[in-house]
């Protein structure tokens, strides 16, 4: 998901249409005008960077690719400067799975993440949000990323997995190693994967004697269509996926939403007056500030929206750019907080629709509800800097706010 500090080998981009680079500081700072420029040039653009990579710029092109598992494989889903060997050790079913193995792997994970399952988790998430707010509410200035948004998803998923919420820092560090440092430093990636596997193996072992009611036991009890338990590599891969997928992504979406509300008093006031509008607002904030970009590997030659696409290249499947396509969304570049028609693709399209979408939505709604209830007045600290994450998961990593009414 989130990518790396731009490696030294990446010169700054001067020709976005022929040489885009999503790790370039200009993209990190403000990708939206870049996407507009690229979309005006072509539905699909290409760069030689990353050993060759396409970027679809329209909603239609993104939809075509997401729905075409024959030509676009999920065996590789991270765009890197290298293409290492694909092994079962790096697999994280079902995100790295293609049909026909994809469906059974995915079906396994769906029941714990339905909206009904989320209703049971909601009180814990509400309590987490309030515990976090209790800790800083008396302060005049706060980094909302470090003190609020960062902690909510990791503690919620830890709770679901049945691992201690107090181990949060450990998880955050592994994610940093896998998704950021690990992109250019293979040894960090391997170290983190090894540590995570050892950690989860310990929890699996403990549950063999004392089964629990959590996601780890759920996976241990799962049976394939022949009645066999899952392979260890499958269970570990899925646990790694759930931990990683659930954190950076939702943290980013909550952060972007609070950033928008800090900057837009009219929208903030509307949501305080009409809290029932928050679910609709969450969908619009997901559209306008979609956190996740996915990727595929081209395995068979084809055309997308008339553009030839050749095997061996990666494709940056930009759901965020698709969600800003004016052909699909009137006023695509504006946040219309009560937007009525919003079939955004923030959680993807097709068979790889995000398993955690109901969890993410619940966390976002609760995080915003509780914040707005307790801190109705807040704004960006003009003395601070908002920094955005680099690469493929976009969200604010520093969010300096001033709390209370402006003097």
């Amino acid at each position: 998901m989130s990518d790396v500090n731009q490696p030294a080998a990446h010169p700054p981009v001067t020709d976005w249409v022929h040489d885009f680079d999503h790790t370039d500081p200009q993209w990190t700072e403000n990708p939206f005008p870049i996407w507009d420029e690229l979309r005006a040039a072509s539905p699909v653009v290409h760069t030689q960077r990353f050993l060759g990579c396409y970027l679809p710029t329209t909603y239609e092109a993104v939809r075509e690719i997401a729905n075409d598992t024959e030509h676009f494989s999920s065996r590789r889903i991270i765009v890197r400067d290298v293409r290492p060997e694909i092994t079962s050790k790096n697999a994280a079913p079902p995100i790295t799975s293609d049909p026909p193995v994809h469906k059974p792997a995915k079906q396994l994970l769906l029941p714990p993440f339905t909206p009904d399952a989320m209703k049971k988790l909601e009180p814990r998430v509400r309590a987490i949000c309030n515990e976090l707010i209790d800790d800083f509410i008396a302060e005049k200035s706060v980094d909302a990323a470090a003190r609020y948004t960062k902690h909510i998803p990791v503690r919620a998923i830890a709770h679901m997995l049945g691992i201690p919420e107090s181990d949060s820092e450990l998880f955050i560090n592994w994610i940093h190693m896998i998704l950021e440092l690990g992109i250019t430093d293979e040894s960090k990636l391997l170290q983190a994967v090894q540590e995570m596997s050892a950690y989860f193996s310990g929890h699996i072992e403990a549950r063999k004697n004392k089964p629990t009611d959590d996601l780890i036991s759920y996976l241990m009890n799962a049976r394939d269509k022949d009645g066999n338990p899952l392979e260890d590599t499958h269970v570990l891969g899925s646990l790694r996926l759930l931990l990683i997928a659930g954190i950076d992504t939702t943290w980013s979406a909550i952060g972007s939403s609070l950033w928008h509300l800090a900057n837009t008093p009219a929208d903030r006031e509307r949501l305080i007056a009409e809290p029932g509008l928050i679910p609709t607002a969450v969908e619009e904030l997901l559209r306008a500030y979609s956190p996740v970009t996915m990727a595929r590997e081209v395995v068979k030659e084809t055309t997308i929206s008339g553009c030839p696409v050749k095997p061996g290249n990666m494709v940056l499947v930009s759901f965020p750019a698709a969600n800003r396509d004016p052909k699909m969304f009137p006023d695509a570049d504006k946040v219309v907080i009560d937007r009525r028609e919003n079939r955004h693709a923030a959680f993807g399209l097709g068979i790889h629709r995000c398993v955690g979408s109901n969890l993410a939505r619940m966390e976002m709604q609760v995080a915003l509800e509780e914040w707005l209830k307790r801190i109705p007045d807040f704004r960006l600290d003009p003395a601070g800097t908002v920094t955005w994450s680099q690469g493929t998961v976009r969200g604010p990593r520093q969010l300096p706010f001033l709390l209370g009414k402006a003097m």
Binding site: L110, N342, S357
Partner: protein, 69 residues
Amino acid sequence: MAERLKVHVDPDKCQGHARCNALAPELFELDEYGNAHETGDGTVPPGLEDKAWLAKSNCPEIAINVFEE
């Protein structure tokens, strides 16, 4: 007999975004996997027509059909 509005979810297209159930829980139910189907035979009770159209226009997979029967 007056024409009634009906909804139908194409099960091959539904990917479980659950927008329909969030916007029109009276008309769309979810199974144990979080995938949607129309409530009963899909007949839209009077007064809920707007919700039927809203659910259709918010399905990212274009899996919902709204029609008169």
